[in-house]
Each structure stands twice: as C-alpha cells, then as structure tokens.
Assembly symmetry: C2
Homo-oligomer: 503 residues x 2
C-alpha cells in the first residue's frame, strides 16, 4: 500500500455513475440470474462467459484510428513493444459483440446452430444520470447459425417462461413480436424505400422510425405531423418532418395501427398493407410462421402477440424483433401511475459475424435488462428485501470467548446462520443494538450465573420487538420473549423459535 504521509487522504467515493450493492441487493440478483439460467438451460442454451475486456477492434463499433476511441466505451491503449503500438482494449458494452467474436473464433468447435446464454455486467461510458449507471447487468440468450423462424419463436417462448419463473405472473406481461421486413415493405409501398437503391431516402426513413417509436408519447396526431411537414412541441421547438404525402403517411399510420384482435387478423391486415412489396410479404410470412409455432407450443396471444407498433432501435435487426413489456401499473417518481414498460428485447441480425469472417451467419437473440426486472419485482413487492439476520451470541465475559465460539459452531453445523459478537463487549446495550441492526431473530446470553447453572438465556427478538410495539401487559405475561433453557437444549430451542417466526 502506498503510504499517503505527504499526499492528502484519498476520497472514499465510487466513481461517478457507479454504485455498490449490499446484502439482499446482491443475493436477490444472484438468485434471479440463477432462475433465468435454469430456464435457458432447459431450452438447450449453453453458458458462455467471455472476459470483460475485448480489443476495440473486435468490439467493432469503435475504430482504433483516432486518438482516444472511447466515445461510449471505456477504452485504453496497451503498452507497445518497440516500434509497434499497443492494442486498444475496452470493456464490453453488451454481450452480443463478444458473442460474434467468440463464434468467429471458435466456429469449428462449436455446435451448429450454437445456442448460448451469457450473464454479467456491461459498461457504458455515458454521462451518468439519476438511475442511469455506467455498469449494469445483462442476461442474453442467442441462437447463432439458424435461419429458422423456429429459433425466434423459441426465444419468445423462453422469454415468457423466464418472466413467469422469476415471479411475473401471466397477465402481468406481454411479449410483442414484429418484423423489420414488414416495416421495410411498408416503407416500400409508401415510397420511402426503393429496393433497387436501398441507401436513398435514409433521412426520411429515420424520421419515420423515430416517429413510430414515439407513438406512446406523441399520440396519433403528433406522429402524423412528424410523417408530414413537421411538428412544433409545447415549448415551441420545431422538429422537421419526413415530408411524406398524405397517401404515403396513411400507409405508415395503417401499419402502426394494424393490430387486430387475433394474430391471424393482424397478419391478414399486414398482408394487405405490404401488397406488392416482395420483402414485405416475406416479412408477413415470417410473422405468420412464428405465430403458428408459438400456438403449437401453447403460447397464445395472452402471452405473445403480433404487434406492428413495436419498433426497437432497429439499427441492425434484419427480421423478427420482439420485446417484453410489463403491463402492471406502478407509481413513477412524480407519483403518477404508469405502466412499468419494457424489460427485455431482441431480434434477428445477420451482419455481426460477417465482420470477422466475410460469411453471413444468421442469428437471433434476446437481452433481459436484469436491473430493470429486479426493480419491477421490487415495485410489486415480490422481492426479498432483507437477508435473514444471524442468531447473535452475545459476549458477557470476554475471557469465555471459547464457550461462545462453541455455541455458534454448534448452530452453524446445524445449518443455522449464527455469529458471536466480535466488537468491544464492554457495553451490553451496544451488543443488542448490533443484533437489531443485523436483523437478528434470536440473541443468546450466557453470563457467569448462567454458566454456573449450565443454562443459557434465549431472546426471541422478533417477538420482543412486536411486544414492545403493540402488546398489552397481559399479552406479555402469556408470551414471554425470553427463555432460560439448559445449555444442551440451546440448539433445539433456537430451532423452535426460528420455526415459529417463519410462520
């Protein structure tokens, strides 16, 4: 350790945008990840854990030819050797880029198709904000090497099973499925996508996409304005529109509102809308296949539905896209009711592996926002808030520490969480305050008098707290919260009290 004799004391602070997780925050997440891994495993997905660090070159989004290629990622340059400059390394910003690297690197050894899941932290070098952290957990499952719609349908079904497994009951979530090709077909019919010249009118398509994405917030009229001449918001700011004619805008609006009561009716409506676009028809066929496969597995529209208004940052998606939304209401920070919203999403992408190998490899996958899902369960009161506190053996006589250690050893060997008080034992009140802070269910006391008579005092702290809060004197008399038992009955009595508290 550096001895900071002359330098000022370092600040004891997490870096901006990072945080610490304590006790139940850690174990609840670990339990959730384990439950998710169980479902992924059942679906035939294998675990993969890549290191946190990748070359910037392999991550791909950022190029090593600028001085500090760390916009969006945490990056640094390795020391070079002689004339040769060192590689730029970076922390992964998602789980998909490392998967593409792994698949390209190990493709001859991996099963094909390759189903894999990955869970762990990712890092984003962004300006931190309230509730926005620069390290957070993702939990992904992807199938690489399969062009079958079976792969997409399976991931949607798995997502439904996963949500139910971690404690979101059926009815409290909906998984929505759409298809990028249908959207492109609609763009084609609306005249903003020319298959012969797909790069033209990119600006217009971008505006259309962003407008659809804002349907929730802007309403039908707002979106319509953005498809046309543009929109002035409440503050007076003007957002440029895509400049679509009315008939063109009608097509797009029709797409957004194509959802019908049944999957088959939605598919039929979409088929009308994309009539004449080959890509659009392929997309509708794919949606229909997914709907059929899901129905065969028993996943009806109460869990998974086709919804053409789903537009997920469609950047690299090439076919089906899907999103899981929690539909129950919570109160936001301003006390207003709102739906909890999206906790997972994904889709089909084909270009990621091609970057490395030149070969197009079809792939589809989902990413669960673990921290958001935990927040949802907490908001619903379905999350364990506290870790069970330990039985605390108090220290009445410092030189008899060996006796107290023997007690905790006995309790621990019986599987009971227990500890001896290890602070300064002088002030007994501090020991009980400590037990309180630890959420201890039981305290054990053995002073010299008890030792002489070979007994111990056992305090039921949960009952004691209840009595102190609410009970009358009569009740107190009937239900003592402290018991004197022979030393050799300590374990049995502690067990009895713990079992009683569990009820």
């Amino acid at each position: 350790m550096a001895k900071p004799k002359k330098t000022p004391r370092p600040k004891a602070e997490t870096p901006k945008g990072f945080r610490d997780y304590f006790g139940a925050e850690v174990t609840a997440r670990a339990e959730m990840l384990q439950a998710i891994a169980g479902v992924y495993h059942r679906y035939g997905f294998d675990a993969l854990e890549t290191s946190a660090v990748e070359t910037v070159e392999a991550l791909g989004k950022f190029l090593p030819d600028v001085d500090r290629p760390n916009a969006g990622v945490f990056a640094w340059q390795e020391d070079g050797e002689g004339e040769k400059p060192g590689d730029w390394l970076a922390l992964r910003y998602d789980m998909t880029a490392p998967l593409a690297r792994v698949y390209a690197q190990h493709r001859n050894d991996l099963p094909n198709p390759y189903r894999r899941y990955a869970m762990g932290p990712v890092w984003r070098n962004e300006k931190p904000g309230p509730g926005r952290f620069r390290q957070f957990y993702q939990c992904d499952a992807d199938t690489v090497g399969s062009a079958s719609m079976g792969a997409d349908a399976e991931i949607c079904a798995m997502l439904a099973d996963t949500l139910e497994e971690v404690g979101i009951p059926r009815g409290d979530y909906i998984i929505r499925v759409n298809n990028r090709k249908v959207l492109n077909g609609v763009m084609e019919v609306a005249g903003v996508l020319d298959p012969a010249n797909p790069d033209a009118m990119e600006r217009e398509r971008g505006i259309v996409l962003r407008a659809i994405d804002k349907l929730d917030r802007l309403g039908v009229d707002g979106v319509r304005a953005l498809l046309g001449a543009g929109r002035k918001d409440d503050s007076g700011d003007f957002t440029d529109g895509a400049g679509l004619s009315d008939p063109q805008a009608d097509v797009v609006m029709g797409f957004m509102q194509a959802k019908r009561d049944s999957g088959a009716a939605t598919v039929a409506r979409l088929r009308e809308l994309v009539a004449g676009s080959q890509m659009g028809e392929t997309g509708v066929d794919e949606l229909e296949q997914i709907a059929d496969l899901l129905a065969a597995g028993g996943y009806g529209p109460d869990r998974i539905e086709i919804d053409s208004s789903v537009v997920r940052g469609l950047g690299y998606y090439t076919g089906p896209v899907y999103e899981a939304e929690l539909t129950f209401e919570i109160f936001d920070e301003k006390g207003r009711k709102r739906q909890f919203g999206s906790v997972a999403g994904g889709g089909r992408y084909d270009d990621l592996v091609k970057r490395f190998t030149g070969q197009e490899v079809p792939a589809t996958g989902v990413s669960i926002g673990v921290d958001r899902l935990l927040a949802a369960l907490t908001a619903k009161g379905r999350m364990q808030r506290d870790v069970q506190g330990p039985v605390v053996v108090t220290v009445m006589d410092r030189v008899r520490m060996a006796d107290y250690q023997a007690m905790v050893a006995e309790l621990r060997q019986a599987g009971i969480r227990a500890e001896v008080y290890l602070g300064n034992p002088k002030n007994f009140g501090n020991q009980l305050k400590y037990a309180d802070k630890r959420g201890s269910p039981v305290a054990i006391i053995e002073g010299g008098d008890e030792k002489d008579r070979d007994v111990v005092q056992i305090k039921d702290l949960i009952l004691g707290a209840k009595i102190a809060e609410t009970a009358t004197h009569e009740e107190w008399k009937d239900r003592p919260s402290q018991f004197e038992v022979p030393r050799d009955q300590m374990l049995a009595k502690v067990r009895e009290i713990l079992e009683g508290q569990g009820k």
Copy 2:
C-alpha cells in the same frame, strides 16, 4: 455497427492474457461460488458487490500524478471538464481495496463489526504467461472493525467448512496459522528488528522473509546460506545473504522449525524463542487464543494447525496470517508428483481504512483463489466435466416444425432439457452428428409415416453409443436402443430412458 467495407476484417481473438469459458466451466464455477456463499452466509457474512471500476486514488496502490499510472492495473483517464482534468479510473486488482473504500464511505450505516463477502473477477495488468490470466475470480470474506482473535479464528474455521462444502474432504487439506508479531519478535531476538527504530535493517528483514518463504524449494541448507553470507545456485548465480551471525541465524532457523506435534507444544516452543520481545510474546498469546477458540469449536489440528513456517507475502499483515493448502498429490505438467499447494490465504491488516479516514480500523480476511480451487477439484476428478445435453427433436419434415415445437414445449414444461434441431434439416446425418456434439441423451424422430400412425421413434443415444462400442449382437437384440411409442406416451418414455441413464 461500423461497416468494414474499406478497413480490413477485425481479428476474432481474445486480448492477450484473457480467455473464454464455455458450458460446464461457467456453471461449475457458478455452483462453487454459490456453495461458498452459502457457508459465508451461515457465518453471518453479508454480500457486497462493488463495481469493477474504482478511482485510481481510492485503489491507493497507484498514484494519479504520473502520466500513465497503469503499472499493474488497467487504468484510463476520464474526459475532463473545462480546465479540470478527468479522474483516473482503473479496474479493481483485488477485493480488499474496494472493501476499504466502501467501509470508509458507508461506515455510519454499516453494522460494526462488519462481516462481508465478495466474489467476482479482478484484473491484473501483467505479462500473461501459461496458465496466468489477466482476469481471474476471487472470493473474499473479511471482518472489519473487530480486534478480537475470535474474528481470525472464525475465518479459519469458515475456510475449513468451505473447503469441505465444495468437495475437498477432511484430510485432503490443512489450514496453517502463523502470526506476523511472532515473526517480528523472532527478528527482534535475532537482532534484525529494533522496536525503537523499526525502519532500520529493512533490507536484512526482507532477505530473511524471502529466505523463509523459500524453505520448500531450497531446503534447510539453502535458507541457512541466505540468512548468512549468501547462496550460489546451480546456475552459478549468487544471491546476497542477510549477513546474520550464526547465533542470529540459529534463532530464525529455530522459528521456522518450531512446529511440534501439538498446538500447545508449538506455542510453548515459540514462547521460548521470542523470550524478551514484548511484540513476540503478544503474537504467541494471539496464536494461543486462536488455537483455544478453534479447539472449542471442534476444529482440531487435523484441519487447522499452528505452523510458524507459513510466510504469506507479509507486506501489509499486522497479526495472524493463515493459508489453506491442499495436501493431495497431483501430476505437474512434467509428469512429476507434487502437492497441489495453496488455494486460499489471508490475515489481519489494520492500515487499509486508515488511508481514507485517519482512524486505524482493525480488519482480518481471507481470499479464496476460485480458479485454483476449481483446478484442484478437476484434477481430483470431483468436478462435473460436462453439462447434461438436451433431448434433440429431429426435423424430418420442414413444414411440420410446429409439431416438433409442440414436442419440445411438452418436454420443457416437464422440466426436461430439450430442443428442436434448428439447422438446415436436409441432411439427417448432420442432425444426429449435432446431437452427438451436444451430448444428447435422447433423440426423437417423427417422419410422415410415424405421423400417420400417431407414433414417435425415441433413440437412447447413450445406450446406442455403448452398444456400438462394446456389445455383441446378442446383447443388442436384448436391449434395443430405439423405441416406437404412441405420441401421447413420448414424455413418459423419455423420462424412463433418462432415469435409466442416470443409474
């Protein structure tokens, strides 16, 4: 994604010194960490998860006043704001430095003493070598705020319980305990440590420490030479000695060889050796207390023993030090038998929190080298090598995918790992090769003929492989590995086969 039209293709490689973990490598580690966390929890330790990133200032080992303060750590500088330069951030290199920061930051809210455990990867910016990686797992437990030897004894007992919990049986490990104060007392008696001037003769003490640490490798004569004039090794290289006189060296050698048949006898021998040194006597008292506490908990010298030859990179330790060694033999890379060696270690340190607050806070803790422990269990054949493969439903008829999805949905809902083949189904041989690569226990086949008769074919692939390998024609006749059953008995038959394979 960047479109690499003009740039060369990126290399699909992990950065040097990093690696990927697949399947059972990931799940076996996760299971081990969970088992360890269970023991730590039972001992009253609470989980803590800090972020991977800390300020270089808080990590403390490295100062931000040099241009690139990343010797030993992966570090980078944040963008500044205006004139103000950005903070230097770094990946944690262990779990102890973040604990000190957390304790200093949150000490008013944490219970005191604070028992915490932490598990996760740490990063070292070192030259990678064979089997040496720049990211690896640690699993630590520390008690902060207790000066009691009870804290040290408890961690030793917990370490023993942990090793047994993960599959190292009693007798295959030994935990050795020593005390830095005893060593300092011996140094004092030997005349290389002056309590009134503790910084003098640091060079000599350093040589003595390193010499003791090399006892295993150099033997008694080699260590003796290093304590005196110095030592020439087989290659002719000369290592300077500490320059101790013969009587001085005798004291140190006596210390190293102080271990007796019982803890009490070892303590008595050490007491002789440090006679006259107050610090030494305090150290022996502490060792005696730990031995008594452990005996009271039932932890005898078959599991935890006092051994004065234990010297763990004693840099910042101030009292007890402890180390867990696996005592069974394995074959090293050159085919020679050797003991597996150390898998965990720790001790008492008092300065870490003081850096932040100015207050000395006593602390003691252990770190388990998770990857080494996994390697040990693998070497003993006690580790699950493969993940159970999924039941593979083959695709005989591409348009009947919905039927196959219904089959896997049925199996999965019954808790059976299952998947439908999602590659190109044209070549049926490829499907069986895939099942083989996946380690599938069972394959299910339903062609048009089976569909018409409402039956499925179920292949027991494990038995099939055994028959192909070893069985005579007679045995084959008696034990078919393929069964035709009505479709509605598929689940029952698969279950029956899986249960039979488990035997």
